[in-house]
Symmetry: C2
Subunit: 254 residues, 2 copies
């Protein structure tokens, strides 16, 4: 089997590297940006291109790992062939392939990728979808080659999964950022928070988050809550504090 990567961002880099590691042949890398294409291709020791019409026509699998905003346009510029075409986007439906190939699919790894950080793909949940029933087996096999956590999920449900991931990853990270800001304004080294942050994440492996909730908001300790609101000068942080505290409190009444 020969794979072509359309896109060379963080996700594509980690995925391509993992696939090569399990013996899958990567044939070529395309990226709009020469630097990105070159960097990934040289790591994989394969040719690269920045021209859509130079993309190899003879691969078995094309992996579109592109920004949501350009995915449709790149797909529409590709010459149709008989290979499996999959994208890796949480928020894009499988029907972006409609009209361009019958063999559309999705391989969505639920993880946050940075260039600098190694990740172990075996632990990453993969969510698959194929347009044709016959392609399920192929994509399922590919999924299991790289991860121990593979399942099929519809485009409709994947949208909700992506929304949940925005909360669990992007929003959580921003909350960390606000906590760091509070400390750095008082010249307290922010990394004192790391053991607490680690334990907060570790805890929910054993306990559902609704059960693990602690702090002034769940007790609705208005004394502490009001003192905290007074301390927050930034109106956005004040609003966020109030809204999240109310939301925590409301959860107890459900």
């Amino acid at each position: 089997m020969k794979v072509v990567f359309i896109g060379a961002g963080n996700l594509a880099t980690h995925l391509a590297w993992t696939m090569k590691g399990v013996g899958i042949t990567i044939g070529q890398v395309y990226s709009h940006t020469a630097d990105s294409a070159k960097t990934l291709a040289s790591r994989l020791d394969v040719p690269w291109t920045t021209e859509i019409d130079e993309i190899h026509f003879d691969a078995d699998l094309y992996i579109f790992s592109l920004k949501d905003s350009v995915l449709r346009s790149v797909i529409s510029q590709m010459k149709t062939n008989n290979a499996l075409w999959v994208h890796t986007a949480g928020s894009m439906p499988i029907d972006v392939f409609d009209g361009h190939t019958e063999r559309g699919g999705v391989l969505y790894p639920l993880q946050t990728f940075s260039k600098e950080r190694k990740v172990d793909f075996r632990n990453i949940p993969l969510f698959l979808e194929t347009k044709r029933e016959e392609d399920r087996t192929v994509l399922n096999e590919i999924g299991h080659l790289i991860s121990d956590n593979v399942r099929f999920l519809s485009s409709e449900k994947r949208k909700s999964l992506h929304l949940a991931a925005v909360f669990a990853c992007n929003f959580t990270n921003h909350i960390y950022s606000l906590a760091y800001r509070i400390l750095s304004e008082k010249d307290i080294p922010a990394d004192v928070l790391l053991p607490l942050i680690d334990e907060t994440a570790a805890k929910i492996h054993a306990l559902a988050p609704a059960q693990a909730q602690t702090g002034p908001a769940i007790r609705y300790d208005e004394n502490v809550i009001n003192k905290h609101l007074e301390m927050l000068e930034d109106p956005d942080m004040k609003n966020l504090y109030r809204l999240i505290s109310q939301s925590i409190h409301r959860e107890t009444m459900k």
Copy 2:
């Protein structure tokens, strides 16, 4: 040295157990609630009481680990002696001891404690404060017996630390809870989020959270943001989504 615990909650339980483990003598446990007092005392194999006037008078260190709302009242009912009295509350100033003892202090462990979960105190940052200069050495030595991460911090700064901890722990956990809710409403097993949650926490050991930020809000991808807002039916979740996304976006402009 003999220690008496005033309070027998999660923090007191973990702290007392850790102190016993490093060879510190626990003399007695007081709690307003007989069950809590009995449970902790039996684990430590020491006497317990629910009566403030039965608290041993001859200890060297009294650790007040009580709800903020009752701390002052319990302190005021204690007979004054010459021992060191410390509390463990992030949000309470050292001057709660004023008028009752000259030897007030604080030992605040920055961590979230649950009865069921073991924690390694050696990794927990301890924040100490003493009213009298002479008590610094004693409390510092006690701190180092149980943790490798000990420092002194004023009541004023500890207030900010506690506020940051509410963000980093309580608010983060609630964001997890909302993410879980989104998935369970769609019958997607919520624990698929755990590798993402773990990596989000692990990432900021290497990268400041403001640098680690990813997702639609930092790109201000209005297309995705609006789709997500449409998907959220709960008005509170909609508000939270909007407010956090704006706050992420504003951070990029700083």
